[in-house]
């Protein structure tokens, strides 16, 4: 047990450790002044924060509705909302093109004059939202399902409207789970690569997020790619810690 288990753990730990150990701090700061870095950093911060806001604002009501429904068709909708989790990112990018691209399914409706959202910053946000939302919805759904139904029934018996129950009872009680889901979803959209490349391209300052900048820098400037990677990994690690703390709290309180 110890040998195979330990082998996997070493295999999982080795790449991030190597990345960290082969970077020295002065080199890291020098590389961060590389011309690719600033715009990619700003773009990633902007697009992932917008997509996080969209995911939380739209995903929380969706998860609440799904959590309350019991019927079979609703279960099917839940599966649909999970689909992007298992969809390969490149496939997600192509699918977004087929939906919202210049010749996509909705092009006649959305772009009567032939322009398209593809290869714009908005496309980056859409790709990030598409791939990350299911992670949040899933976490929110299970947080809402853990709420004691007796609390919701008593709230109704006190005359509370559905909106009031959602705002004053359901969301506060699910908050740790929602925070954990938001952290997971943010980490996923920060790392988004495949769907963004397919649907938004790799245009510096416009659609070139941190992962795409790493890919671009790899060809010309390895230290810059390395510095960006360390940066992304560090932030992802923080999100992981936040997420685990939040999910532990939501588990303990249920």
């Amino acid at each position: 047990m110890l040998v195979p288990g330990g082998a996997l753990l070493v295999f999982l730990a080795l790449p991030p450790l190597s990345l960290l150990l082969s970077t020295d701090v002065s080199q890291l700061f020098a590389a961060l002044s590389h011309p690719l870095v600033g715009p990619a950093l700003r773009l990633s911060a902007f697009t992932t924060l917008v997509s996080l806001a969209l995911v939380v604002l739209l995903g929380t009501p969706l998860a609440w509705l799904l959590a309350q429904a019991r019927s079979k068709p609703v279960r099917a909708l839940e599966t649909l909302a999970q689909l992007p989790i298992v969809m390969p990112p490149a496939v997600a990018g192509i699918a977004l093109l087929f939906a919202f691209g210049r010749r996509g399914l909705l092009s006649g409706v959305v772009y009567p004059r032939g322009q398209s959202v593809a290869f714009t910053t908005l496309a980056v946000i859409m790709a990030e939202t598409f791939v990350s939302a299911p992670f949040f919805v899933q976490a929110a759904l299970s947080a809402f399902r853990r709420i004691d139904p007796g609390l919701l029934l008593v709230a109704r018996s006190l005359g509370a409207s559905p909106l009031r129950i959602f705002v004053r009872v359901a969301v506060p009680l699910a908050l740790p789970g929602l925070a954990g889901g938001a952290a997971l979803s943010w980490a996923r959209s920060l790392g988004e690569f495949g769907a963004t490349l397919m649907f938004a391209g790799n245009l510096a300052g416009k659609t070139q997020t941190l992962p795409l900048a790493i890919y671009t820098a790899l060809e010309s400037d390895l230290p810059a790619a390395q510095a960006l990677s360390v940066l992304l990994m560090g932030f992802a690690f923080v999100l992981l810690v936040v997420m685990r703390a939040a999910l532990r709290r939501s588990g303990a309180e249920s």
Binding site: G150, V154, R156, S157, L158, S161
Partner: protein
Amino acid sequence: MIRARLELTRGPFALRVELATSTGPLVIIGPNGAGKTTLLLALLGARRPNVGRIEIADACVFDSALGVDVCVEQRGVGYLPADYALFPHLSVAENVAFAIASQPGVSSEQRAARIQEQLQALQIGELRERRIHELSGGQKQRVALARALAAKPRALLLDEPLAALDLGSRRAVREFLRDHVAALQLPCVIVTHDPADARVLGATIAVLEAGRIAQRGTWSELVSAPASDFIADFVRS
């Protein structure tokens, strides 16, 4: 006043009940699975009977023939589940405020006054700012009662109101509950599996067995002429 006549089937189980109570508690006893909680939930509006009619305080809240089915939010029925279902993220005062804030046209001064009044009526004014997890079982029950009464219900349903308490505190809480419920002048249905509860709380006791009311009467009537083996065992224990 609560007056109900209802039939409710779920799979092989069928509940067929007629009951009426004016002010004062009606205690429902019966073995596990007899349908006691289902009956409470039907009165509350959380389970829909197949056929029947339910009247609460002279208003019809359910009538299958007329197509009437008033939702839980508008029935005006206070409900205390066995674990009291207090909102764990709110303080005692906020729990009570939740019931008042749901009513339109109540100013914040009126609300504060009513919270205080309600807490004092249940002798828990000093618990105002406490969190729920800091309360004893008996205190939780009082907060749950205060919250239910703050909504000005027309009837009260209590599911196993003493089951969550340890044996030591049960007697005192039971007597408090009896005196308080009697003073309310509200129709009240109390479900219990504890003979002591039935004896102390209930002027009238209805025995529910396998979805039917097997006997109805005072404690002494049940003792002198039990209609079934369950009732005979129940009053003797």
